[in-house]
């Protein structure tokens, strides 16, 4: 009876968001590493993509490990979104009469953008999966079975690169607040020094992720990465 009580609180929802958020962080770091293989050339990039499908063989079937990771990510997404929606709805009900004048003294812009920024990232995720995973749509009508060519063809189209850059800006802002916020939710920032460290860590990781992901499309557009 009491067990259900603690797990039904808003803090339990926050814990759900923090844990699933850190799973996503691990994923985007690994994803970024794979993307940067593009600088090593077509062969290295495609080999990495192919290897992902062979991961864990022969213990696991073909694409076995990949699907385990995918299921973990889908589960994290369900938890992250469900908790966010529940907390968003609570916050909306907590203040139904708005202030005529309201300042946000001592507040970062990133912390106020978490919800709509999250929606932006979700919309981008759908677009991105249609582009590279589920749909494999080549905007130039070229090859779709070669990951490297699909990537280069995509980012040679300037507006595709713009979409990806905007998404990385949203992701960077989300991580900038999200990483330290998750650390706080997990109770790791019990002193001013620890809080500052978590904030700095969050900012640095957010910068690494957003710049790291943006390098490849920018390099394609600049003609550094070519077919």
């Amino acid at each position: 009876m009491t067990g259900a009580r603690a797990a039904r609180t808003t803090i339990a929802l926050k814990l759900g968001m923090a844990v699933s958020g850190f799973i996503f962080l691990g994923f985007v770091l690994a994803h970024m590493y794979g993307n940067l293989k593009a600088f090593a050339g077509q062969e290295a990039f495609n080999e990495y993509a192919h290897h992902l499908r062979e991961l864990g063989e022969p213990m696991l079937p073909h694409e076995g490990a990949l699907w385990i990771i995918r299921l973990g990510l889908i589960l994290s997404l369900v938890v992250h979104v469900a908790c966010a929606v529940a907390l968003w709805r609570r916050a909306a009900r907590a203040r139904t009469t708005r202030y005529v004048v309201k300042k946000n003294t001592g507040v970062t812009r990133a912390s106020l953008m978490m919800r709509w920024g999250g929606v932006t990232i979700f919309v981008f995720l759908v677009w991105h999966l249609l582009n590279f995973t589920i749909g494999k749509v080549n905007p130039q009508g070229g090859a779709t079975d070669d990951p490297y060519l699909l990537m280069v063809d995509t980012f040679e189209v300037w507006w595709m690169t713009v979409i990806y850059l905007v998404a990385m800006l949203a992701l960077g802002a989300h991580l900038h607040h999200g990483i330290w916020s998750a650390a706080q939710t997990l109770g790791w920032t019990g002193t001013a020094a620890k809080r500052q460290r978590a904030k700095t860590f969050g900012f640095v990781v957010a910068l690494i992720v957003s710049v790291g992901f943006s390098l490849v499309p920018l390099a394609v557009l600049a003609g550094i990465i070519t077919k």
Partner: protein, 247 residues
């Protein structure tokens, strides 16, 4: 000083309210913000109008009764309570917007007065320790490490004014709860009820309709007692520990 005041007027809890504009001249910069409102109310009384209802008690910044949203900042632009805010913090000719705390858990009673008994009900759920009363115990029988005592004392300065809720974009009372949890949880006397305290207080907080915390930090910036954000980390940690202990 001459001021234009835009103030929320609402006759009672069930009626709709609206912003009203008042002109006030010859305000001394040495007046406190509440004294400025007192002067306005005297003028309204003379004109036979209903004076503006607002909360205040000690007027020395220790009781937490006063609390107004002033130009979008809880307790105004300084880090203090409304009663300790002085008119020298404003410019001559300035327009000042004054609103009550906005939180559905703090319903407006009249004009600028809100009902904060939701905080009392959270305290009733765990803002206490159970001890046998009687003669005072020997002070040295329960040693308290210096750093723990300091932290407990620092967060015990929370006066429950509700500025954290008023400033929070989510309407969360996490800073208030965190202050109480940390205050009692840092001391040996607070240990027996530590797990049930956090679970019961957070459950009551959610039941009252306060929002969830997203660690924005507007609360700590608005807090007149400068309660630091790490009490929310402590609150989260204590709840996580309570879940682990099967609560």
């Amino acid at each position: 000083m001459n001021l234009t005041l835009k103030i929320w007027r609402q006759p009672d809890a069930s009626s709709a309210g609206a912003m009203h504009t008042y002109e006030l001249s010859d305000v001394s910069p040495d007046m406190s913000f509440l004294e400025m409102l007192d002067v306005l109310n005297e003028q309204l009384n003379e004109k036979g109008e209903e004076p503006i209802a607002f909360d205040s008690d000690c007027r020395e910044g220790i009781c937490g009764t006063c609390g107004l949203m002033i130009n979008g900042d809880a307790h105004g632009p300084e880090v203090t309570t409304t009663c300790q805010l002085h008119m020298r913090s404003f410019k001559d000719g300035e327009t000042i917007t004054i609103e009550p705390w906005r939180s559905d858990a703090f319903p407006v009673v009249k004009d600028l007065i809100v009902d904060r008994s939701a905080f009392d009900r959270i305290i009733q759920q765990g803002g206490y320790i159970s001890v046998n009363t009687g003669s005072a115990p020997e002070a040295h029988s329960v040693p308290v490490p210096r750093d723990d005592a300091l932290r407990a004392f620092n967060v015990a300065t929370c006066i429950g004014c509700g500025a954290c809720v008023a400033a929070c974009p989510n309407g969360s009372a996490s800073l208030f709860m965190g202050a109480k949890i940390t205050h009692l949880g840092e001391l040996p006397q607070g240990q027996p009820e530590r797990d049930t305290r956090v679970v019961n207080m957070v459950a009551q907080h959610d039941h009252e309709g306060f929002g969830g915390c997203t660690n924005i930090g507007a609360c700590t910036a608005a807090c007149p007692k400068e309660i630091p954000l790490d009490v929310i980390s402590q609150l989260n940690k204590d709840l996580r520990t309570a879940i682990k202990h099967g609560h």
